[in-house]
């Protein structure tokens, strides 16, 4: 647990970066600090490992006052990941990862073995061990950065916009892997971002900071979306928060209707036959939906991938309301495709059916349940 006790940071020129911050980052959970630039989120983060010294107040790491521990000792017990990874360009990937164990005087052989294990865990092939950072892509460097932060198995991790310098596809991938890694490791994490979507996706709790280092709201993401504390938070959280809040409510058993699909390679006549409302769903030979086919486009050729409309997203049977609604809204036929755990077709739902479910849940006052799965993928 990390506890901020009335922590302030005021610079010599009178700028207040952080203003009497009281905050608890519970053990084993991800606390996200989010806010516009100048809100003191990075300053707050860096005060934890004393890269920046607070002007007043205390920061506790469990029952230790961080001010009472020598800085280098404190820092070796706290993993730290930054935006551009900050890997040492002159050391190999493996040597980068073993930095802190080496500083702590751990057994070299053990440290290397653990580093290789961590590399596998963060999704880096073993042959990368001997490479230098410049030989890696930005996303790969960031994976090394995470492995390096975890190398000495610190209970606490500080992450300063770790995924913002990579492209959106890699970012989503890193975020998902980060969440599953955290599910395994259960570290106490403080995570800084300026991206509210990232905060909502990753945070067990989200602290929204306002310019001047003032804590505007501290809440679980669902609550942030459904009950912003003030107009600043409401504005920062964004416009479509009602829709995004659906991402925290599991849809439950939706009234899935059977869909008559055809498989790839089917005769055009068969496809026209099966079409409903002008569209027919096409699956592969293992009943996994591949896309929609407009009946009138089924000419003389057999059904192939080239003919498919790929616009529709898929929702799994355990999807959130948001994913289910999105599947229906994004589908060219208006019928959202629901699949089972292994991606096989279960049937379809319409947007109005999902909306009915949303209204039902509202009426029964069913609270939004904790974080659902990842985003649906385009077929």
């Amino acid at each position: 647990m990390i506890r901020f006790e009335s922590v302030s940071k005021e610079y010599a020129d009178g700028t207040v970066a952080v203003d009497r911050l009281d905050l608890v980052a519970p053990s084993g959970a991800i606390t996200v600090l989010v806010g516009p630039s100048g809100c003191g989120k990075t300053t707050s983060l860096r005060m934890i490992n004393r890269m920046i010294e607070p002007s007043s107040g205390r920061i506790w790491l469990d029952d230790r006052d961080t001010a009472s521990v020598p800085t280098h000792e404190l820092r070796r017990g706290i993993g730290y990941v930054i935006q551009h990874a900050g890997l040492f360009p002159h050391r190999t990937v493996l040597d980068n990862i073993t930095t802190v164990p080496e500083l702590l005087g751990h057994d070299r052989k053990q440290a290397r073995a653990r580093a290789l294990e961590l590399m596998e865990r963060v999704g880096l092939p073993e042959q990368f061990a001997k490479r230098y950072p410049a030989q890696l892509s930005g996303g790969q460097q960031q994976r090394v950065g995470v492995a390096r932060a975890l190398a000495a198995d610190p209970p606490v991790m500080l992450m300063d916009e770790p995924f913002s310098a990579v492209d959106p596809v890699v970012r989503a991938q890193l975020q998902n892997e980060f969440l599953s890694l955290q599910a395994e490791l259960g570290k106490t994490i403080v995570f800084v971002t300026h991206d509210i979507d990232e905060a909502i996706k990753l945070g067990d709790q989200v602290a929204v900071l306002q310019v001047g280092g003032h804590l505007a709201q501290l809440a679980p993401p669902a609550e942030l979306l459904s009950a912003p504390a003030d107009s600043f938070v409401a504005g920062f959280v964004g416009r479509d928060r009602g829709y995004r809040a659906l991402g925290f409510a599991v849809a439950g058993r939706l009234p899935v209707r059977p869909e008559s699909a055809v498989t790839l390679g089917a005769a055009p006549g068969e496809a026209r036959e099966a079409a409903e409302g002008g569209w027919v769903l096409v699956t592969d030979h293992e009943e996994r939906p591949q896309g929609w086919l407009r009946a009138e486009q089924a000419g003389a050729d057999r059904v192939s991938e080239a003919h498919l409309n790929l616009g529709g997203t898929l929702a799994s049977e355990t999807a959130t309301l948001r994913e289910a609604l999105d599947a229906a809204l994004s589908s060219p036929s208006g019928r959202g495709v629901i699949v089972d755990g292994s991606g096989r077709l279960l049937g379809t739902v319409t947007a109005s059916e999902v909306l009915t479910r949303i209204e039902q849940q509202r009426a029964t006052g069913q609270p939004p349940s904790p974080r659902g799965g990842g985003e649906g993928e385009a077929p």
């Binding site: 280098h72 706290i78 930054i82 900050g86 890997l87 002159h90 930095t99 410049a134």
Partner: protein, 246 residues
């Protein structure tokens, strides 16, 4: 009495026909054959006098450069003062050195110390800038992982400064080879003697062989020492090789 000792004892009066027939630049080969032992010993001294001050100068410039980096306010005075040292004419420094450090006028130590001063002058800025070349991200990560200031210097800043410092050392080495030759005019035994000899033998018309030989050997020596520095840098920076010398 050999021709070379004659040349040294009374170069002015020696009939040129006794020395070498060819007074053109190509005559340097014949000149070298006739004076091989002496020239080789000069070459050895010259190499020594060029290299040792670089090593000594680097060892002095490292802490000074670090100081200029560590306490930013010391950077302007240190770098300016070091730069000023370079404006002292080398011949003046060679002559004044015995008074400063209490040596004999022809002691090669004078040259070594004077050239160390020049190397320091060149390298203080280079070391300071090299140590500062570490990117903000890397410096931050190093601090955040709990490296002490000392560890950061030795494990991160210094290794990363090697390419920058090496570039400065290459300049210093080559500059020293040419500066050492100047000391020949005051009689210190090294390749500069060849120029003095050539000058003394140029009575009436120029006598090129020793002069050309001196130039060629200085260039070759500079190339060899430069190659040595490049090789050492190559060995010390495997990470740069890995990405194609970026």
């Amino acid at each position: 009495m050999s021709a070379q000792s004659l040349a040294r004892s009374m170069p002015q009066s020696l009939p040129r026909s006794l020395l070498a027939v060819d007074s053109s630049p190509l005559g340097m080969f014949g000149y070298f054959r006739e004076h091989r032992d002496e020239v080789m010993s000069w070459l050895g001294y010259h190499a020594w006098l060029s290299a040792v001050p670089v090593v000594a100068g680097l060892l002095i410039a490292l802490p000074l450069g670090w100081l200029a980096r560590r306490y930013r306010w010391t950077y302007p005075p240190l770098v300016t003062a070091a730069g000023m040292l370079y404006t002292i004419p080398s011949i003046a420094l060679f002559v004044a050195m015995p008074d400063i450090i209490g040596t004999q006028i022809l002691d090669p130590v004078n040259v070594a110390v004077a050239l160390t001063v020049y190397t320091v002058a060149l390298l203080v800025r280079v070391v300071a800038d090299g140590l500062g070349a570490v990117s903000e991200d890397v410096a931050q990560a190093a601090t955040a992982m709990g490296l002490t200031r000392r560890q950061r210097l030795l494990k991160v800043e210094l290794p990363l400064a090697v390419p920058v410092i090496a570039a400065g050392v290459r300049v210093a080495v080559v500059a020293n080879v040419s500066l050492v030759a100047v000391a020949g005019t005051i009689g210190v035994p090294e390749l500069g003697q060849l120029f003095t000899t050539g000058f003394q033998l140029s009575v009436g018309s120029p006598y090129y062989p020793p002069i050309t030989l001196g130039i060629v050997l200085c260039v070759l020596l500079a190339l060899a020492l430069d190659l040595l520095v490049v090789g050492a840098t190559w060995l010390a920076t495997p990470w740069r090789r890995a990405v194609g010398g970026r």
